[in-house]
């Protein structure tokens, strides 16, 4: 434990004093301020026109302002935070010859990797929490909205999911920093994977779905084909953690959302119900809707960390 704590403290200290963190935090604070400001302005206009909504405060996070909503923003930038915090965690120590010194101290070897991972998670938690608090403050100031208990709980769940999501990217980048001896290679590899999961998978899902179950615009297509097409598209795009996270948090932030499925995949009764009865779900039910997403998100985070843990423990360290 003493080793874990020492490494954790050193890493936290490094994160918070590094220029990298300061620049990253400034960037994210700036974007989230603009996003929430735009969302707030939109929301104020909407609320005047809109019939009474039950949870206006949460709309601060789900309304796209100028470009994207807060949820979309975390889905897109969260990976960047995670990757930047972790991509050089092990191979930098190796390149500087400090890793061998670290493991020749009377600590268990896993203290090094656990300490680094936990420090990353801690840093991200502080970052995300402060962003949420800033937006909450904006909501109070610009729109004059006060969050209710239910909304605070939902935001808390959103925060936890976001931390897991970014932790997945930290674990991934730590894995790369163990696998690749060169810092540049691991930075490029993690960047490439980010772009792949963000851009290629959704496009690939479309291509795959149209190849397996083609929909022709001019001819009449069977309903089964359309359903098959939609289902393939959905399942394939879930391979991207961004999609996984977006769908999971959408249901948490928006209590009106009672399924993650697209409208094509709903049965007739379901369609009727969702158009006739527009009532918000309680938080427990919202969680149930995205339960599979949450399980997978937590699972990939843990698996990713477990793999890096194993690789690191079995690796021979000479420098």
């Amino acid at each position: 434990m003493q080793g874990l704590y020492a490494v954790f403290r050193k890493e936290i200290c490094d994160h918070f004093t590094s220029y990298r963190f300061v620049i990253l935090f400034a960037l994210i604070a700036m974007i989230s301020l603009i996003t929430s400001y735009m969302a707030g302005i939109h929301l104020r206009e909407d609320l005047e026109a809109l019939a009474k909504t039950r949870y206006p405060f949460l709309m601060l996070f789900s309304t796209p302002g100028a470009m994207f909503s807060m949820v979309q923003f975390v889905a897109f930038f969260g990976p960047l935070i995670g990757l930047v915090l972790g991509f050089d965690s092990i191979n930098r120590e190796r390149a500087h010859g400090t890793l061998i010194k670290l493991v020749s101290q009377p600590i268990y070897r896993d203290a090094v990797i656990n300490g680094k991972f936990l420090a990353g998670v801690m840093t991200v938690s502080v970052m995300l929490l402060s962003i949420i608090l800033v937006i909450t403050g904006f909501g109070l100031a610009i729109v004059g909205l006060v969050p209710g208990v239910e909304e605070i709980w939902r935001l808390f769940v959103f925060l936890i999911i976001s931390i897991f999501y970014v932790s997945f990217w930290i674990a991934l980048s730590i894995l790369f920093s163990i696998l690749f001896k060169s810092i540049v290679t691991s930075a490029l590899a993690s960047g490439a994977l980010w772009i792949f999961l963000w851009l290629i998978i959704p496009v690939g899902a479309n291509v795959l779905a149209n190849a397996v179950a083609p929909i022709n615009a001019h001819e009449e297509t069977q309903a089964e084909t359309i359903i098959k097409n939609a289902r393939i598209k959905e399942i394939t795009s879930l391979a991207s953690p961004m999609v996984l996270y977006s769908e999971a948090t959408a249901a948490i932030i928006d209590p009106m959302l009672n399924t993650t499925r697209s409208i094509t995949l709903m049965g007739p009764m379901e369609k009727l119900l969702s158009s006739r009865f527009q009532n918000p779900l309680p938080l427990g039910q919202s969680l149930l809707v995205v339960f599979p997403h949450l399980t997978v998100l937590i699972a990939i985070t843990l698996i990713c960390f477990a793999v890096s843990y194993l690789v690191f423990m079995l690796q021979e360290i000479r420098t």
Partner: protein
Amino acid sequence: MDTPTVIETKDLSKEYDHQVAVDHLTFSIREGEIFGFLGPNGAGKTTTLLMLLGLTRPSKGSALVCGLDPMRKAKEVKRRVGYLPENVGFYGDLDAVESLEYVASLNGIRGTEARGKIEELLELVGLSEDARKKVGAFSRGMKQRLGIAEVLLKDPEVLFLDEPTLGLDPEGAVRLIDLISQLNQERNISVLLSSHHLHQVQKISHRVGIMITGKMVAMGSIESLAKEKLGLGGREYSLEEIYMKYFPEV
């Protein structure tokens, strides 16, 4: 034997992909001894040290360090053994005191105890005046001395020094060797010293071992090796002369 051994190996071997790095190594080091560990680059000296620390798993054979098996009790062994790796690295953005504080915290030494020790060790290695300088600006000799201070934090029983004099200027090397000798005499620390500065090794070693391609080809006090290889009467000899005898004529 009256003095107990601190390191004992029996048939210690390590293979990498069918390439033998260390070949049935059997040797022992007694308490309070400085053992000069000699041999060309790539002879398997570092691999041997890593196996003795429990950082590398031996393919065959066994080792005892301070009476403990390094593979099973790695943490206890590392508590007793200070290892200064070849080309030891530092966090360039920390100063000398901060570096030592980090190592102290990894060893579970905290607060006033750590502060007192750090001050004392900086004095010992002659870095008191540079205590608040960034390690990134240190010269090679200063870094090696800081490295020695780091391994001394845990009050080790044994020191493994892997090429501590590598790349040092003659004066720096002499000062470092004197420091090692002083530590051995004042604190009764056993030292396993690997170095190419044969003249310096000869000055302070009680015994030497010469390792070539994974095998210990010679071991003993310098006089006995001199007798064996040079067959000398009373004439002057140097460790270098002895050392060269183990290599075929060029």
